[in-house]
Symmetry: C2
Subunit: 359 residues, 2 copies
């Protein structure tokens, strides 16, 4: 199929129907759809409906439970561990974030580690749930091992993203959401489709040598931690990815490091798991547990305005406040629809046919 | 003077005497000395006694208060804001970390934002205070603006380091401690002494163009966020530095961004402060607020052992677990003494003469 533009409403309705078809209770299907579509709206196309058929296949392989009993298995005033019961991460993550927010209302902050979950879409969506409560939100997750730490030829960590959402007053919120690698996997997928080389510093070959082939991961290559090489601080990117892995999985009892199960049904999970499913970690901090929220938000306005007005190398290229491009995409795509790649469209048609849904 | 090796005991006693001479109460002088010397022991020479004369000059300029009344000005069950009363960061930070640990004992986690403080030495020292309590420790601080965010020619953030310390069982703890720039300022100082060029990607000229001159900062140049350039993710390094700045200063009421006062007495603080002093942020998370500490620590052992055994590109170059090099340095230097650079030694002699202390 050719690339097409589909309205947010139609795409939302379609994904919602699919989640119902695989057996999600209505409320959970709605939560999952909102989380999934948020990626498409925010321009992170690799994490939106492009993944829908993959979720369906994992459900068919009985690796995703569409009727999970998500529950707290351990807690303290400001913490909880949540068992996701092998549910969709798109459902488990918002539930865990709600618990973090509820804890923060009483204890000032709330921190929730999650085990036994699956791919949760974009981290930023979950972190941003804190914003309407005048809280700072954080979300992180581990992921299947595709990343070789500095000096390693083995893939031992995932792209392990971190999101931090911070409210402002009249300025839009600060929303950072990034993989702890030089480039996210989604950027390689774009290069694969365009048949273009990747920059040096994004990927390495199976033997650890330099590669610019965006398909290198299929030949046993690996993504590289943020920093690109030791001289430019890739050990710091490794620290970040490790931190996310440990908070998400060692704290919760999920699988960590090379034991994280793959997100695709054609690759079997490791035969010797060290925990349950994949892990996430969420945080919510009530601003007024530190200082009056109005004071804080006025200073955030000042922070954002000052940085936004920075003198730049090139007048055309302004300093980008984290979250700006995604927010602009969201505003645009809600109005004008969501561009869907031809291959993704084929994939969605196939899912529609499988479940006898109009698309 | 030539470079020399001085015993840890002698160097400790010397620094302690200096802190007493500038008026620190005995207990605070002892806390400051331990924090300062920890940097020398752990091989982070730029943050140890090399800074002692700078602290003295800031005290002479009345920008450091040697008898601070450090107090909590706002709190919730899991949070506090601490006013450092313009004290040495070396004294204020351990006090704030103690408060975070005390909060974590009751609420599961403790998070302390600090305003009105000064340079706090190495972040890792404070984060590691959590380890004997079976807690995860975190420490971050903002710093004088030397970093140009992606696309900016203006210096708008500091090197804003993050430290995370995580206990294990039989393995040594995981201790990450890194500036959120490609390279820390200390690394430039080493190149300056050796009269060597810096790699491309560490620094930029005043106009934002590429530089390899390690003295570029003196001519209005800037350090670069982790990632080196946009294509290799420097916007992610910027997100990290921004996050540290906001948690440390906007949450606490300290100065942020370009308003952070310089660490040297010959540069005046900005005339239009937006807060008080510099800011820090600390966290302590009780492991057993998530899962039994023994379970967690056994899995950390497994995590560390598996990564340490990674197949590497070169058999001589093993994967480095965060904290390994610093711990090895500490063990070695406690035994064999601390190498002190000739220029630093001259500086310390001058301080000794000023206060009529034997050195």
């Amino acid at each position: 199929m050719n690339d097409s533009i589909i309205s947010h409403k139609d795409l939302h309705e379609f994904a919602f129907q699919i989640f119902l078809k695989i057996g999600c209770p209505k409320e959970q299907a709605s939560i999952a759809t909102t989380a999934l579509l948020r990626a498409d709206l925010r321009g992170i196309d690799s994490h939106g409906v492009a993944r829908l058929s993959g979720y369906v296949r994992l459900w068919e392989a009985k690796r995703i439970n569409s009727k999970p009993d998500i529950k707290i298995v351990h807690e303290s005033p400001s913490t909880a561990v949540v068992d996701g019961d092998a549910g969709l991460g798109l459902v488990v993550a918002p539930r865990a974030m709600e618990i973090a927010i509820a804890k923060a209302k009483i204890a000032g902050t709330g921190w929730v580690a999650v085990k036994n979950s699956n791919h949760f879409g974009i981290a930023g969506h979950h972190a941003m749930m804190a914003l309407p409560h005048d809280m700072i939100g954080m979300a992180m997750t581990n992921a299947s091992p595709l990343v070789a730490p500095t000096f390693s030829v083995e893939r031992l960590l995932g792209t392990n993203p971190i999101a931090v959402a911070i409210p402002a007053d009249t300025q839009p919120p600060f929303v950072a959401d990034f993989a702890t690698t030089t480039a996210a996997n989604g950027k390689l997928e774009i290069l694969q489709r365009k048949e273009q080389d990747a920059p040096v510093g994004w990927i390495q070959k199976k033997d650890g040598s330099v590669s610019t082939n965006p398909n290198e991961l299929k030949d046993g290559g690996a993504l590289i931690p943020l920093g690109s090489d030791r001289e430019h601080g890739s050990h710091k990117g490794f620290c970040l990815g490790a931190w996310v892995d440990i908070f998400s999985a060692v704290l919760s009892g999920a699988n960590y490091g090379p034991w994280v199960p793959p997100f695709v049904s054609f690759l079997a999970p490791p035969a010797d798991p060290v925990g349950e499913g994949i892990g996430h970690f969420f945080g919510a901090m009530r601003i007024d547990a530190f200082r009056p929220a109005d004071d804080f938000k006025k200073h955030m306005d000042n922070w954002i305005a000052r940085l936004r007005s920075a003198k730049t190398v090139d007048d055309e290229e302004k300093l980008i406040i984290p979250g700006d491009p995604e927010r602009e995409s969201e505003e645009e795509r809600i109005k004008s629809g969501i561009p869907i790649n031809g291959k993704v469209l084929d994939d969605l048609k196939e899912v529609a046919t499988k479940f006898s849904i109009q698309f």
